[in-house]
């Protein structure tokens, strides 16, 4: 039952809302080239915010994401992690991840990160094609990417993840597969492959306003090709956009998909506990101002009804290879076996879903249409 998940160790997410420059596709909240004063204010605000949640935890994952956490210097990262340890119980062997831009990684920086307790690095490589990196508005080059990977390995990181982006306009599937090949040669423990999507308000969305963005036929799925290529090289496709060597799944991200509690700190961060979801003000200024004056930075929240819990549990579960438990869905009033028999059968017969005792889980084909699966069962 998901009640068990509620009793599992929490995940702690810290949102670092700064970037050295904005990428053209990104709609996440972050401030480019922030003043050092603002960064310092943010770091102290974070420490204040932690004090509001001392009853949360214990935690077995910590994740510094953003934005670009690697725009922080190692001293600031030390400060943050010290506050974390002072305020919360962090389980021994916890997974502590930081996201980094390859351009920010130097041998010293990598070594300091490791020393601070960080044991997992997620590098925003995005591509090994300089044209694509330019198109996306990234500030690093393919050379930077390779150099940064060498650095973090040399520093002693045993768990690194690379982020890649596909479905780039004018990029052929073959070109994408060659980038994947390069990634696989590096043997990262983890790979996230994201389809490029146009987020409203981004420069990229502006450029493709006329709707000429999608070129591939909807009857062909790059995700399936990607999954097959990675499987050949020993990578497990464990969530729509995530792959890992066996046992190296992101423990932190997995909590999002099975209703394990997590606490999100920093501007615009989201938290989940029990039936409650809440989120912070997204502007750094408002966030720090609230905490400086002793107020909560929470912008709003919602309490989920049974039906909504069930809906989430279903659509999140259908994104993962592990799938979702039918009896748990039933617990929320979703009886797929008895009320959605025809769809369930059609999906199983068409190779979109597998059923194994109490669990249904998507095949790769099914993950590529996970949203449609959820819609069909919820309609």
């Amino acid at each position: 039952m998901s009640q068990d998940n509620q009793n599992r160790p929490w995940g702690l997410y810290i949102h670092v809302p700064f970037c050295a420059s904005k990428c053209r596709y990104c709609a996440f909240y972050s401030l480019p080239s922030p003043s050092s004063d603002l960064v310092e204010k943010f770091v102290s605000a974070l420490a204040c915010e932690m004090e509001l949640y001392r009853d949360c935890g214990p935690f077995d994952t910590v994740y510094l994401g953003g934005g670009t956490p690697s725009v922080l210097d190692t001293e600031q990262i030390y400060l943050i992690l010290n506050s974390v340890r002072r305020n919360f119980r962090i389980e021994p062997g916890a997974e502590i991840t930081v996201e980094a831009n390859p351009a920010d990684i130097s041998p010293q920086y990598a070594a300091e990160l490791l020393r601070s307790g960080i044991n997992r690095l997620n590098l925003g490589v995005q591509s090994f094609d300089s044209e694509v990196l330019k198109f996306l508005g990234r500030r690093h080059s393919p050379g930077d990417a390779l150099a940064s990977i060498k650095c973090v390995r040399a520093a002693g990181f045993r768990n690194i993840g690379l982020d890649l982006i596909y479905s780039i306009p004018r990029q052929s599937t073959d070109q994408w597969l060659r980038i994947l090949e390069q990634a696989v040669l590096i043997r990262p423990e983890h790979l996230s492959c994201y389809e490029l999507t146009l987020e409203p308000g981004t420069p990229l969305a502006e450029e493709f306003r006329d709707g000429q963005f999608r070129t591939d036929d909807e009857t062909f799925s790059v995700l399936e090709t990607t999954s097959a290529a990675l499987a050949e090289n020993g990578y497990v496709h464990y969530e729509v956009s995530n792959f890992s060597l066996p046992g190296m799944e992101s423990r932190h991200n997995s909590k999002y998909w099975d209703h394990t509690p997590y606490l999100g700190l920093g501007p615009s961060a989201h938290s989940f506990r029990g039936r409650r979801r809440w989120w912070n003000l997204s502007s750094v200024e408002e966030y720090t101002a609230a905490l400086q004056s002793g107020k909560s930075p929470v912008e709003a929240g919602e309490d989920l009804k049974d039906e909504q819990m069930g809906e989430e549990f279903l659509f999140l579960g259908l994104r993962t290879a592990r799938g979702v438990s039918l009896s748990e869905l039933q617990h929320y009033g979703l009886d797929l076996v008895n009320t959605k028999t025809a769809i369930l059968d059609a999906c199983i017969n068409s190779g979109l879903l597998r059923i194994d005792n109490d669990r249904i889980s998507p095949t790769v084909k099914g993950m590529a249409v996970a949203d449609a699966l959820a819609k069909a069962f919820l309609a």
Binding site: E195, T219, F220, L223, L316, C347, V369
Partner: protein
């Protein structure tokens, strides 16, 4: 009685009937400018939007003529579509004359002629009025030739007007007074009043529109409907201004309304005779017949929870539409619903739209059917209008289907194309007349089932809109019939079944499959659509699946966003029906009746 004139305006669709009625009403000042709106007699939204009249309306217009007398002119507005031709005939039976309105640019059309025949049947004075004379394309000379050659009327008797611009209106009033005879009838004879329509009023019950032929009717009278002997006490009588105007009595020659505690319009038969219960007239007025539906379809709620709502709404709707009939029905694919009868496809369309609009329902209609007749081996006769009740083929001795006589008027250059279409639709016994060197009147005998299957649309297409079409039911004829089933992913969807002529079964099956392929959206799995007779598949199409529908990222904040999006999409599914594993849009059920070929 000398100062009463009862008249109607008859015209082909879009020849300006409602606009002329508006002008006549405005001229007499019964409605002030502030309260006036276009198409004032068409008070349903659907009538205004589609520019059609569905219900008959009457209005009394006071007019001071040049001779100094004040006349009561009763204008009876009638529906314009073939589906409602019986209502039109009853309205005309209440008149002594008609304005036959003809568009100066389009000239005489099929319904101009059909309406003229109706008016001639009732011995009415006919005043040809050429409308839209101010149009650049107006060709009055040509219309005058047509009035002479095609209508057999004296072109010298015509009037000309532009209802839109308001010219020629006074001449029309004078002609009504001078040329249309005053009503005959004896106020002292026993009561005989012709019911030409009825409306439902939520406060007063049924408002009966009638023309008093003989006698007198007033509040307190006990009246009897001659068709069924039902007796009611009159509560109120009156005339129609734009609102009802109570009167002490209605006498022979007058047109007005009667309120008599009649619960629903279905208790009233259009064409029936009202008489006095104490002192009845000898014979009912001629021309009455029971209105029989010719097109049948089942209505289902999209969400099965809405069945009770649908039941209540149909009951309410029926209060105001006596020609609509329904009874309980159920479908394996679509659940509980109602089998309904309609006067034609337009009527069906109107009922569907009004149920959705006025009762806020989301409904699905099964593929419309006509009523077939089967003589069984044991000698019994069964009438089937619902394909789901198709009898066991082994037991059928003889199958028959209804035939119509189609009357078409068209420029001669489209003859070839129209004859080809009619032959394809199993038309027989064609008769061709040239009403003028370039215009042909073509009649065919055709199965009604072929006419409801996209005939009208294709006729309009092949004649580029210049052809006009009307029909009458004639008889039942023996036919080689078969039940065509449609299977979606192996599951028979009974609401898509059709009774078809065996020779046309394969083509019809393929067309239905193709249309469904266009209407059913791609799913995440392959969908097979098959047409089958008995167990034999005779047509097949497939809808290939989509392979991609997933958001790339789903972490912290994405989850709330994603759930809200899903909830929104869930609501958007209202016009879709799940049949097995396949979601079929509402539009698909009627789409199988249409073809896309030229």
């Amino acid at each position: 009685m000398d100062h009463i004139r009862n008249f109607s305006i008859i015209a082909h669709i879009d020849h300006g009937k409602s606009t002329l009625a508006d002008r006549l009403i405005q001229y007499t000042g019964v409605v002030d400018a502030r309260n006036f709106q276009d198409q004032i007699l068409d008070n349903m939204d659907i009538e205004r939007e589609r520019g059609i009249t569905i219900k008959s309306q009457a209005i009394t217009l006071p007019y001071r003529a040049e001779d100094g007398g004040i006349y009561m002119l009763n204008l009876i507005d009638t529906p314009g579509h073939v589906d409602f031709s019986y209502e039109v005939s009853r309205a005309l039976a209440s008149c002594e004359g008609v304005l036959l309105l003809i568009d100066a640019a389009q000239g005489v059309q099929a319904q101009t002629i059909a309406n003229l025949y109706l008016a001639m049947d009732h011995n009415l004075e006919i005043i040809p009025v050429i409308n839209k004379i101010d149009l650049p394309a107006a060709d009055v000379e040509r219309v005058l030739e047509q009035i002479d050659a095609e209508l057999g009327l004296d072109p010298d008797t015509h009037l000309a007007c532009s209802a839109k611009a308001g010219t020629g209106i006074e001449e029309i009033f004078e002609a009504i007074v001078e040329r249309i005879p005053p009503p005959k009838g004896n106020p002292d004879s026993p009561l005989a009043a012709l019911i030409f329509d009825a409306h439902y009023d939520s406060y007063r019950g049924t408002i009966i529109n009638c023309r008093v032929m003989d006698g007198r009717i007033q509040a307190g009278d006990m009246i009897r409907f001659m068709s069924n002997g039902a007796v009611y006490k009159v509560e109120e009588v009156g005339r129609f201004a734009l609102a009802r105007q109570k009167q002490n009595s209605l006498s022979a020659g007058e047109v007005g309304y009667v309120i008599a505690g009649v619960k629903t319009v279905s208790d009233v038969r259009i064409g029936d005779t009202i008489t006095s219960d104490a002192k009845p007239c000898g014979e009912p007025l001629p021309g009455f017949r029971e209105v029989k539906p010719v097109v049948f379809s089942s209505i289902y709620p999209i969400a099965s929870d809405d069945y009770e709502d649908l039941a209540v709404s149909l009951e309410k709707y029926k209060l105001n539409d006596a020609s609509f009939i329904y009874q309980k029905d159920s479908s394996v694919a679509l659940g509980q619903g109602f089998r309904c009868g309609f006067l034609g496809l337009l009527h069906l369309d109107i009922v569907q739209e009004r149920l959705e609009r006025e009762f806020n329902l989301s409904i699905i209609l099964s593929v419309p059917s006509v009523r077939f007749r089967f003589t069984m081996r044991d000698g019994s006769l069964v009438q089937i209008d619902n394909p789901s009740q198709y009898p066991n083929p082994m037991q059928i001795a003889k199958a028959e289907e209804p035939f119509i006589r189609a009357t078409m008027l068209l420029p001669e250059r489209y003859l070839g194309a129209v004859m080809k279409l009619c032959t394809e639709k199993r038309g027989v016994n064609s008769v061709l007349n040239f009403t003028s060197p370039t215009r042909a009147e073509l009649t065919y005998e055709m199965p009604l089932s072929e006419v409801i299957f996209d005939f009208y649309d294709r006729f309009k297409t092949v004649t580029q809109g210049y052809g006009s079409f009307d029909y009458d039911l004639i008889d039942y004829r023996e036919s080689n019939l078969a039940l065509l089933d449609i299977l979606v992913n192996g599951e028979r969807v009974d609401a898509l079944s059709q009774i078809v002529h065996r020779d046309r079964a394969r083509a019809r099956a393929l067309q239905s499959c193709e249309r469904l392929k266009e209407e059913i959206p791609r799913h995440m799995f392959k969908i097979a659509i098959q047409g089958a007779i008995g167990g034999e598949v005779i047509a097949r199409t497939t809808i290939s699946p989509f392979r991609k529908d997933v958001t790339a990222k789903c972490y912290g904040g994405d989850i709330t966003r994603k759930r809200k999006l899903l909830e929104k999409q869930k609501k958007g599914k209202k016009r879709m029906k799940m049949v097995g594993s396949v979601t079929i849009p509402q539009s698909a059920f009627l789409a199988v009746l249409k073809t896309d070929q030229e």
